[in-house]
Subunit: 281 residues, 2 copies
């Protein structure tokens, strides 16, 4: 997805939020916003938003000297996910279509995104998403392709959401390679976050090589791009990965809630909609 | 009111909205946002937000070559106000306390602010504000001071709202000097807008000398500052005038709805609250 003009004020909103998580020094945050302001003229709308996010969050790390400002938030998200895990496993097992229930929970997990919302009521969200109609619901094709696949490349998004991804991977019951960010960016899952969620017990964890908040190809490792090119089937979680991959030729199921109005419009749905969208499939 | 860090993303949101009203050329709007980005480092948080707004809207006028991009919106707002005028005059006349009803309508008129909201349902707003409790309600003192005053300086805000100001001025029944912006900025009322609303029949219209979207003293004319200094009683409408005047020593009643979360917090109320606040009185 290209960057829309509407993304520009949002970059400053995100930088302010991340700046306040990284430091209490308001003047330092002002200098970070000034720094982003100076760079704006060099930012092309042809880039994807997470490519620009990469620059912004990189500058915040450099200017605050905090390599992982969302560490505590990510840990809390993972702990909350693990706390819910036993109960949600029962919900999946007792449901009419466990795979579909696990897909729905994986979307619910996508809402645990402290980079977008200030706070969420996770339990309420799960109840809502379990009943919510998919705005784009390619589940029959998803089930068919999952059943036929030998191996799946699953691109993770946020820490905490990882626990919900784990439950979906357990239902899929096929060999899965789970890709995470190479470096901390916002609350996105890195290798450590995936391990903390127990993903290492159900999938092979690999790095996408990027420190952008999304699978932005020009910033991914050659090794990961080779994986994308050879992948039989890809599951891409969340907005950042959608933004990075929506114009690529790979066989992807995008699984996300459209939390942002602009992304929703790009997909052709309404803000707040949940989506399981087949792409090149 | 000083500028908060939270105002910075909002400056870009406002610039984008105003840019889209002024032109359809997305690349020109990008260049305008870039231009504001470059200026950000020179913007001090010690300025008031409308002082910064003045720079931003000035650049939009210069870069688009549109001296008054909100002309059509202002005309529609004034026309809508005049359409409602006869009916609302009856509502005032038949009410238990006509002055209070006129005050409430003047707040309702403050909601006709296309600089903040994309669209509003004016009739619904009027119904709501007629029943809404004031978060700060200095009406008893307001009535007392209005009755005692020889002359009142009334600082207007938006076009369209001017019709509602006219109704309050008619209820006040004292000599009123009505101050408007010197130049078009957002949808703020200038001399022509005040005349179109019929203010010239009930008050003496003067210019504040500023092209900022609020009474920002360093940008006002000496003549207007002299009026402020000599004023027995001032009514200040809207957020922009609050931002410009909240730290001045003049005897003011601030009359507004706190549409912005940051201004609400500065006043000590909740976003969406309506306020009649005595200041230095």
């Amino acid at each position: 997805m290209k960057t829309y003009l509407d993304c520009i004020p949002c970059f400053f909103t995100q930088a302010l939020r991340a700046g306040r998580i990284a430091t209490n020094d308001e003047m330092l945050i002002k200098r970070m916003l000034d720094d982003i302001g100076l760079r704006l003229k060099d930012i092309s709308l042809d880039c994807t938003p997470p490519e620009i996010g990469r620059t912004i969050y990189g500058r915040i790390r450099e200017m605050t000297g905090q390599p992982d400002p969302y560490r505590a938030i990510k840990d809390r998200s993972t702990a909350k996910g693990l706390e819910l895990y036993p109960e949600l496993k029962k919900v999946i097992a007792q449901s009419e279509d466990p795979l579909l229930t696990a897909v729905r929970l994986a979307v619910a997990g996508n809402i645990i995104d402290f980079g977008v919302f200030e706070s969420v009521d996770i339990d309420d969200t799960i109840q809502t998403v379990m009943k919510q109609k998919f705005a784009i619901g390619d589940y029959p094709l998803f089930r068919e392709r999952i059943e036929a696949a030998q191996q799946i490349l699953y691109i993770g998004d946020n820490a905490g959401e990882t626990v919900f991804d784990r439950m979906l991977i357990e239902e899929i019951g096929k060999p899965v390679v789970y890709a995470v960010r190479a470096e901390p960016v916002i609350n996105d899952a890195t290798h450590d976050d995936a391990v903390a969620a127990g993903i290492d017990g159900v999938a092979t964890i690999v790095s996408s090589g990027t420190d952008a908040p999304g699978a932005v190809l020009p910033t991914c490792s050659d090794e990961f791009i080779e994986r994308l090119e050879q992948a039989e089937l890809i599951i891409s979680k969340g907005q950042g990965n959608y933004e990075g991959l929506s114009q690529t030729p790979y066989p992807i199921f995008f699984l996300l809630m459209a939390k942002c109005r602009i992304i929703a419009s790009d997909i052709g749905v309404t803000q707040g909609d949940i989506i399981l969208k087949a792409h090149n499939l």
